[in-house]
């Protein structure tokens, strides 16, 4: 996947490029806002990572222009600013996610993966399965009338299972779709996430059933 990074702090940019390249992405790196904007006009990307404080043009302006042009490319904002100024929230002007510096690079990786996946997914934002509803855009999962906070990977697993209730998903297929080809997950990763997810949607009128020897399926309980 093709990623554009606009970041003027070399030490940080270097590490981001390093980490994202290592998981198989092609990363273009621009050091100032004006150059970033130019590149965005010429090339299409799967994800844009923008720093806020940039020479030339700041990250918020780039984001606004991008959205004004009708682009739906996912944007992750990196900011070192404090919200002391009455600036708008990055999310309110169309960022898909944001991280406050300094951040954990594993956290960055998790968010990048989630954003890339979201774009390739279905058009509808809200997925329903029994009394579970999943809002892909806000990552809000509702079980009955209680909201459950899921980690991005748990959410992916829930999305996959809930998209086709009743269908049995093999362990390998789940591994593939959850981790992609670039990661080397532990052999019991699927079991681990299934276990966690079961606990988190406990009490829902839908449950994850193990089909011995095949995999897992989502089963919706009869109409209440």
């Amino acid at each position: 996947m093709r990623i554009l990074l606009v970041e003027d702090t070399k030490d940080v940019g270097e590490a981001i490029v390093g980490r994202l390249s290592r998981i198989g992405h092609a990363v273009d790196w621009e050091l100032d806002g004006t150059a970033g904007m130019e590149v965005l006009g010429a090339t299409s990307y799967d994800l844009v990572i923008l720093d806020v404080m940039l020479p030339g043009m700041d990250g918020f302006s780039i984001l606004s222009r991008l959205r004004a042009r009708g682009s739906t490319t996912p944007v992750l904002i990196l900011t070192a600013r404090s919200r002391v100024e009455d600036r708008v929230d990055a999310l309110d002007i169309g960022a898909d996610d944001y991280l406050v510096k300094p951040f954990d690079f594993r956290e960055l990786e998790a968010r990048v993966r989630a954003l890339m996946r979201r774009n390739s997914g279905e058009a509808t934002n809200v997925l329903r399965c029994g009394d579970i509803s999943i809002d892909r855009l806000t990552r809000m999962v509702r079980v009955g009338d209680c909201e459950v906070h899921l980690k991005r990977r748990e959410l992916t697993l829930l999305e996959i299972l809930s998209s086709r209730p009743g269908r049995v998903f093999g362990k390998d297929e789940l591994l593939d779709r959850m981790f992609g080809h670039d990661e080397a997950p532990a052999p019991n990763a699927v079991e681990l996430y299934i276990g966690r997810l079961r606990r988190k949607i406990d009490g829902a009128r839908a449950q994850i059933v193990t089909v011995r020897g095949f995999g897992y399926q989502m089963v919706i309980d009869g109409p209440a």
């Binding site: 590490a15 404090s82 919200r83 999310l91």
Partner: protein
């Protein structure tokens, strides 16, 4: 500023009233005095007239003085029907011809002969006005001065004086009332601009830093200019502070991000096990430093915003949802079940969304860091006009004896170096600034609840 002075209106009104009262007193005294003068003059003429008539009635008959009292003289005096009249007529030899012997001659001791005098005296214990006239006889048989003394009680003249005085008093009183009414009106009109200025200042939001724009008379202009000068200076300070915090945030976080980035690059290279151990320590310390920086910045920001940012309508549910997303990192290794229970309708409070989010984030962060092995439950409730956010975790909680300390700045720096001891104090400060409160509930050994209680919108309006 505790020294309260009476209002300008009362001052002006009191001073004007004092001047008016003094003027009225002078006028009334003068009126009373001249009324008495006028009454005396009028009645003295009658008294003298009567005395002259009596004096004219004295005749010399065969060398002897004789008198036949003229009725007309008494008719003249009878005009004042309430008064009694006394008289005495003395012949040139000094013998009383007729009348009261006891009526003394008011001019007895006077050496110089006077033709007519009128003066006050007392007769039979009553105040009287006495007239004395002299008639000179130059007859060969009788030579010398006959004296006529007529006295009259003073009822009528007093009554007249009273009546005249009363009329003047009524006039002065009426004038006084008009003057006081006019004073009230004039003072009120003149002080109206002060009232307008007061209203304009009173109605401002305390965090509003726009200049006061009220038209005022020249005398008040320096005050408005001074207030506006102060507002400008304050605005300058606020902007400076804001700029400082923003700069500090950027200047501190950027190298920290770089440090984190570089350690991230290092850890993936092949290094010896002992280097890995040191690297882990570096990473842990970097995170600790990052966290402390964030909390200090958060604290500065919260303190600044609470004095500089006006309140707006905040949906606590949405705010808490975002705070959850920020406070619970994806990379957290512990598997914590995080649930949010919120009423279906938005929970609106009046406040600063950024500071409130900071408070909620700090509470959640605290629960993640020090509590919750497996469960964090966030409940949003509406409790009798208060909006309440409860954050419950299944961790060990905070022992009650430490509760007062943990809400103070740097009150509870943890010994393991993980916490800066600022998180809960930031939340407590934000809540206090919002008229709310932060408190704790212990639920046996299975739960610890941090309760954030805020006045909700309806209560603010009421």
């Amino acid at each position: 500023m505790d020294r309260r002075e009476p209002s300008l209106f009362i001052r002006l009104f009191a001073l004007m009233s004092l001047v008016l009262a003094f003027g009225a007193a002078v006028l009334m005294t003068a009126a009373w005095y001249s009324a008495r003068q006028a009454a005396d003059q009028a009645y003295d003429r009658l008294l003298l007239g009567a005395a002259y008539q009596i004096a004219d009635a004295i005749q010399i008959q065969d060398g002897q003085p004789e008198i036949e009292l003229p009725v007309s003289a008494f008719e003249l005096l009878a005009l004042s029907d309430r008064d009694r009249i006394f008289y005495r007529v003395l012949d040139p030899a000094g013998h009383t011809m007729t009348g009261y012997e006891r009526l003394d001659d008011p001019a007895a001791e006077t050496a110089t002969p006077v033709r007519a005098i009128v003066e006050n005296a007392e007769f039979d214990g009553e105040n009287v006005r006495v007239a004395r006239v002299v008639r000179r006889f130059d007859d060969p048989q009788m030579r010398g001065d006959a004296i006529v003394i007529v006295a009259q009680t003073i009822e009528a003249r007093r009554a007249l004086a009273r009546e005249l005085t009363l009329r003047s008093f009524i006039l002065v009183g009426a004038m006084g009332a008009i003057a006081i009414g006019g004073t009230i009106f004039a003072v009120r009109r003149a002080l109206a601009p002060i009232g307008r200025l007061e209203t304009a200042i009173r109605q401002r939001d305390p965090l509003d830093l726009t200049l006061v724009d009220v038209s005022t008379p020249r005398e008040l202009a320096p005050f408005v200019a001074e207030i506006n000068g102060f507002i400008k200076r304050l605005r300058g300070r606020v902007e400076l502070m804001q700029q400082f915090i923003a700069d500090a945030a950027h200047q501190l976080r950027t190298p920290l991000a770089a440090l984190e980035a570089q350690t991230d690059l290092l850890s993936n290279d092949d290094v010896s096990p002992s280097t890995v151990k040191h690297l882990d320590r570096v990473r842990a310390r970097t995170r600790q430093l990052s966290r402390l920086t964030n909390q200090l910045l958060s604290h500065a920001m919260v303190a600044h915003r609470e004095r500089a940012v006006a309140n707006s309508q905040v949906d606590l549910t949405e705010l808490t949802r975002r705070a959850l997303d920020e406070a619970i990192p994806d990379t957290l290794e512990r598997d914590i079940l995080v649930t949010l229970h919120a009423p279906p309708e938005p929970l609106i409070v009046s406040g600063d969304p950024v500071n409130l989010a900071e408070a909620v984030k700090n509470i959640l962060d605290n629960a993640v860091r020090h509590g919750a092995p497996a469960r964090i439950t966030v409940r949003l409730l509406k409790k009798s006009n208060r909006a309440v956010i409860e954050v419950e975790d299944d961790g060990p909680g905070i022992p009650p004896e430490q509760w007062p300390r943990v809400v103070q700045r740097f009150g509870a720096p943890s010994s393991d170096g993980k916490g800066s001891g600022l998180g809960l104090s930031i939340a407590a400060e934000v809540l206090e600034a919002h008229g709310g409160a932060l408190f704790f509930i212990e639920k046996g050994s299975f739960g610890f609840v941090v309760v954030m209680s805020l006045a909700d919108e309806e209560r603010k309006v009421a």
